[in-house]
């Protein structure tokens, strides 16, 4: 794959990438002595994939996820998400991309305390401009999808860790995103709850959502169809590259 010369990048179709990274690097610190967090990563993720990104702490997993999630910008290289070259988008359009096309799941859930599960999930649609009634209706559907239809009025402190993460996932998918980004979604959970979360991610993927999961749990990564391995900011292995990825399509 040579994205540099591929003008057919934006052609629709099942084989077009939802995420395309081309020589992406990210340095932190001052320009005098920049610390590389990610170096020259080039890869792509196709619509409908379920991908794990693994690697030890400090390998650049989170940096990569933040770059794909448009929460950070690369120091160099090009990123294309859902057909949009991120370098060409201003803050408003990047925000719109996140609001309409992406969902985020975090290790520590980041739910609003004192707010019901329903309203936490409805907040996933806050920046789409939908009316509140509509947001709540969809939030109810999303909570049913993740198996929490009986917990709509519960507040985070009344829920177990696994349930909280399912609320967070419902919030991430309530807007029906094309891309679900999960950062260590099972990291704060016991293995049973974690397993249920992975099952849920599989189910969402079956329904067509592209899912990218960061994990340092090797067993979890092994359960996913494709695995990208990072070390010291470099992409060192891709379980699907090149033939497996094409075969799985």
């Amino acid at each position: 794959m040579n994205v540099r010369t591929d003008p057919a990048l934006r052609l629709p179709g099942s084989s077009s990438p939802v995420v395309l990274l081309d020589g992406v690097s990210r340095y932190y610190g001052g320009s005098a002595s920049p610390v590389p967090a990610l170096a020259e990563v080039t890869t792509s993720i196709t619509y409908g994939e379920l991908v794990a990104i693994t690697g030890p702490s400090g390998s650049g997993k989170s940096t990569l996820l933040n770059l794909i999630g448009t929460l950070d910008r690369p120091s160099s290289g090009r990123i294309i998400v859902d057909g949009h070259d991120l370098a060409a988008l201003d803050d408003r359009r990047l925000s719109a991309l996140r609001a309409h096309r992406m969902g985020f799941v975090f290790q520590h859930f980041h739910l609003a305390e004192g707010t019901t599960a329903l309203d936490n999930v409805a907040d996933g649609l806050l920046y789409t401009g939908l009316p509140r009634r509509e947001r709540r209706a969809r939030a109810g559907d999303a909570l049913h999808t993740v198996g929490l239809g009986h917990r709509l009025r519960h507040r985070p402190h009344q829920l177990s860790g696994g349930e909280r993460q399912r609320v967070a996932i419902a919030r991430a998918v309530v807007g029906d995103p094309v891309l679900l980004l999960a950062d260590e979604p099972t990291g704060a959970l016991d293995s049973n709850s974690g397993g249920a979360i992975v099952d849920l991610l599989h189910r969402l993927n079956d329904n067509g959502t592209t899912v990218v999961v960061i994990t340092h749990d090797v067993q979890l990564a092994a359960r996913l169809p494709r695995c990208l391995s990072l070390r010291d900011g470099r992409l060192i292995a891709d379980s699907a590259y090149p033939t497996a990825a094409e075969a799985s399509r």
Partner: protein
């Protein structure tokens, strides 16, 4: 699923924005109340001072319209050689002849006579009271009222009777029917007067009829003050004519003044204090604004996680900054409304306790609320911009 979405902006509804702004205040109510209190105190101080001043003015103009601004007093000035001049004994009847003059009254001070509670009081303890020979028409001219008892015209002129001013009656602890030691004999108190705002010198006066004053106290017949009321339209004309009429030979020895001007001047003094207090209120408001800014800076630091999450959910930077700006605005508007409510209560309470009408120009509370809103916007601006600049990935990893 099409990969080619045309990207609109992410949107946040106004109702949601207000709800978000209120959220921050609801989750930390004590902090919100305390920092709003600073603003409230500042605005309450300013609005109260203006309200009290306005009520006092309303009281004054009501008082002036009741007392009239058409009263002029004529007093002797000094002669060219620097000696104390005198008004001629016939001054009163001459003033009465001026065109437009409606009522005339006069008093003549009797320097040698003092009034005491009884004959055993030390003669030096005069209690600041003065003895006047009073013309019967005095009461009408100054629009004074008898509190208790009767006015001088109700008793034979030659008898030793006296009418006491409001304060004189208090200091002598005398009621109608009592006796007071005046000159070298006891006088019977005929009546007591209500306060006379336009002629406060009568409040500390013992008023004796002119005939009794001449016979019993050696009054020389020269009035020391002539009180005159004319129709409102003629006041300045009469004022110009008075010196020449009273003393044709030496008009320069006659002083004419308008007591209602003194009341207005007193109010003007109050007015200058109002400016000072409004200035102090401004300082309090400024300090309150700094308090709000401080609170908002801390809030933004504490809520980095929330900011990161909102950015991930699709909030643009401007959504974040507007959210915190709205929070600051709500905070200061809350303070402003509380302050104005406090001010209205305080103004009403003070005015009623003083027996004044309650008066508050509508523009003042409105300006107060506008000012707090502006202060809230200013105080929230920096924290809001800072919130918008918070990098989302740093906020989320914390």
């Amino acid at each position: 699923m099409t990969p080619h979405t045309s990207l609109d902006h992410s949107r946040l509804r106004v109702t949601d924005l207000v709800r978000l702004g209120g959220n921050g205040l609801r989750t930390r109510p004590l902090r919100a109340v305390l920092s709003a209190l600073g603003i409230a105190i500042g605005i309450a101080a300013m609005v109260t001072v203006i309200g009290i001043s306005s009520s006092s003015q309303a009281h004054l103009s009501a008082q002036l319209s009741r007392l009239g601004t058409n009263l002029l007093t004529v007093t002797p000035g000094q002669s060219l050689s620097g000696e104390q001049a005198q008004l001629p004994p016939e001054a009163m009847s001459m003033v009465a002849r001026i065109d437009g003059v409606e009522t005339v009254g006069s008093v003549g001070k009797i320097d040698d006579a003092k009034v005491y509670r009884n004959s055993r009081v030390d003669p030096r303890q005069t209690s600041g009271l003065t003895v006047f020979a009073a013309h019967p028409d005095l009461l009408e001219a100054v629009r004074a009222d008898v509190t208790r008892g009767h006015w001088l015209d109700q008793a034979p002129q030659n008898y030793p009777t006296v009418v006491l001013g409001h304060l004189a009656a208090q200091r002598l602890a005398a009621q109608p029917g009592d006796q007071v030691w005046l000159g070298d004999q006891y006088f019977t108190v005929l009546g007591t007067l209500q306060p006379v705002p336009l002629a406060p010198e009568l409040d500390t006066a013992a008023l004796v009829g002119q005939k009794a004053a001449e016979h019993l106290l050696g009054f020389d017949g020269h009035p020391t003050t002539v009180y005159e009321r004319s129709s409102d339209a003629r006041v300045s004309a009469v004022r110009a004519l008075l010196p020449r009429t009273v003393n044709p030979e030496h008009p320069e020895e006659v002083q004419v003044s308008r007591p209602s001007d003194a009341l207005a001047a007193k109010d003007a003094v109050l007015e200058s204090y109002t400016g000072l207090f409004v200035g102090l209120g401004c300082v309090a408001l400024l300090v309150g604004g700094i308090g709000v800014a401080n609170t908002m800076v801390i809030t933004v630091l504490e809520r980095r996680r929330e900011i990161g999450l909102r950015r991930a959910l699709g909030a643009a930077r401007r959504h974040i900054s507007i959210q915190f700006l709205v929070e600051a605005l709500l905070l200061s508007a809350m303070g402003g409304l509380t302050g104005v409510a406090l001010a209205l209560t305080a103004t009403a309470g003070y005015a009623l306790s003083q027996g004044w009408p309650v008066s508050m120009p509508l523009a003042v509370p409105l300006a107060g609320i506008t000012a707090t809103t502006l202060i809230g916007a200013l105080a929230g601006l920096y924290p809001a911009l800072r919130a918008a600049r918070t990098p989302p990935m740093v906020a989320l990893s914390s």
